[in-house]
Amino acid sequence: MGIAAEALKDFKGFSLKKLPVEEPLSPGHRACQGCGEVLALRLIMKAIGSNVVVCSATGCMEIITSPYPQTAWRVPWLHVAFENAAAVVSGVEAAYKAMNRKGIIDSPDTVFFAYGGDGGTMDIGLQALSGAMERGHNFVYACLDNEAYMNTGIQRSSGTPYGAMTTTSPPGKKSIGQGTQKKNLPAIAVAHAIPYVATVSPAFPVDLMNKAKKAAMIPGPAYLHVYSVCPTGWRHAADQTIQVAKLAVDSKVFPLYEVIDGEYKLSRKVAKPKPVADYLKAQRRFRHLTESEVAKIQAKVDADWDTLVKRCGAEEAPAPAKEDE
């Protein structure tokens, strides 16, 4: 039995009727209306609980929760810079390890959690994250992926999907918008042979919280890739956040899966996939795309899904959590 499977053998999931009441990330922060990122972060914090130290990369979630002298954090929280959240959490974890061992403190069960956006994780913070995963620190890392540098004004990142309009990948006579394919960071995390990798979406809150809890329970590095809907940057109405997130999963654009001890497992099969066009049409960042470009994107989504299903070793996925239906 692998490290993760061993740690999860007595795992009990959340149910909507018995959600933790605590809110380590409190309301009253300054996120945009309809922010899917802060919703996901709030749910992760509820799942992890209050015996935690949080390390934040610079970005939307840092700015909106910590305008001095206010703070939205009811748990210890440290922000240092943009590209180093994984290195900072390495230091916190190492300090706790040494101080627990030397009898200076007695906090053996504290969870170490770091997060960053797609820019802070997939671009400028990739080296620090790779180092921390390779060294095997006991931490949970969440990439809150809203598919562009939203905090600085919607510039493209390596997490921006093909065809998307951003302020530095504008469509034009010689441009289709983002001209490159989205970097597959969960696969890069898996390549580090860490015990746990999962994708989560705020449209499926029980699945999200269960995975966050698992990530916290497993010793060693755990990586969560968080689909973080951004109405401001994706150009849709603030009340469409959950619909867009659901469409992403139901069109196979953002599959939900886990990789436990290196074994891929689909979290949710998609029996009757919605056309990718429906997903694209819901957001004005894709409105310039021609039918042929949409067809290209559909083909890529289908191919990626097939690859994922093959990695999972079976067509069948477990039944989804009822509460998330």
Binding site: S66, P76, L78, A87, A98, M99
Partner: protein, 391 residues
Amino acid sequence: MSKRVGMEVSIAAAEVVGMTNVDVIAAYPITPQTHIVEHLSELVADGQLDAEFVPVESEHSAMSTCVGSSAAGARTFTSTSSQGYALMSEICYIAAALRLPIVMAVANRAISGPINIWNDHADMMMSRDTGWVQTVAENGQEVIDLLLHAFRVAEDHRVLLPTIVNLDGFTLSHMIEPMFLPEQAEVDRYLPPYVPKLRLDPAKPITMGPVGMPDVYTEARKAQDEALKASKPVILEAWKEFADQFGRQYHPVETYQTEGAEHLLLTMGSISETAMTAVDAMRAAGKKVGLARIRLWRPFPADELLAAVRGAKTLSVIDRAPAFSGGCGPVCCEVKSMLFDGGCSPYVWNYLAGLGGRDVTVEDFADMVAKTSACADRGEPMGYEFLNARE
């Protein structure tokens, strides 16, 4: 009792850091700092030091890991040089702003380009305005003494600032020197266990590193300036207690043969030992020459330095890093500012010497004094030159 040993300075430095019972060391290899962290990793591997040695993937992550560790309440150490310092410098500013008492040994080395692994003070000058307490060692004994002193000062609740001990790469880091190495009990007596004032603790949550809007940013920077200036009495007190316990008294500025001196050399670091030999030779030849050496680089010891140079006719200030087109090197720039504020106006000539590992000899110091004195006599405008640079 301290024991007298002959030891490579880097190894002795690591031994002393080990004796502080440091909790976390995060480091990345760069010449010429490597022997310090190599030996620390050996102490951890052999079970002689109970610490987490975090072999990070870059200096940027080294300092980031140190920030996380220190914020969590652990005694924390790292070491770097040159390009490594340049890479981590972003986080060095933040470490000081967060008031984290990290201790770092910097084995001073030239900055690229061209790439050059040898000794000068470009990295030290780069770190000048980061808000760290900084001392500069002249010899091996000072390296280990200043390291102990650094932990003591940094962790004092009246200070709580990160601290750098500068030691010249190779000329100190790789030399085998005679030193008095303290015993564990002596270290324990001088350096109490680290008690953080605030730490990242789920039982008492705090928010560290929030956004500082325009309405508070100025005040935050002013508070940092005041904190660094306020560290000075603690630095002096810790040196006094060091002297009481170990018998070696350190000062922010050391003077040599300054009594009645008309011409002064002004140096930092290991080059000062050569300069003292040069002063001896010039004194023997009847010339009124002396030396002032800066040991405390930050907070800048303006009062002590002014007292040391007041009365001299000329100053030959040696800089070991350029400040391109700035009118003089970075040390000389500070010295001139201090002289102006102090109403003191000797003739100052600035020599950019010992760059990228080039030797500065006893004869060079004699030439510098002679040239400064001649320029002063001729009434030439003050300026700077790259010593012995070929055209």
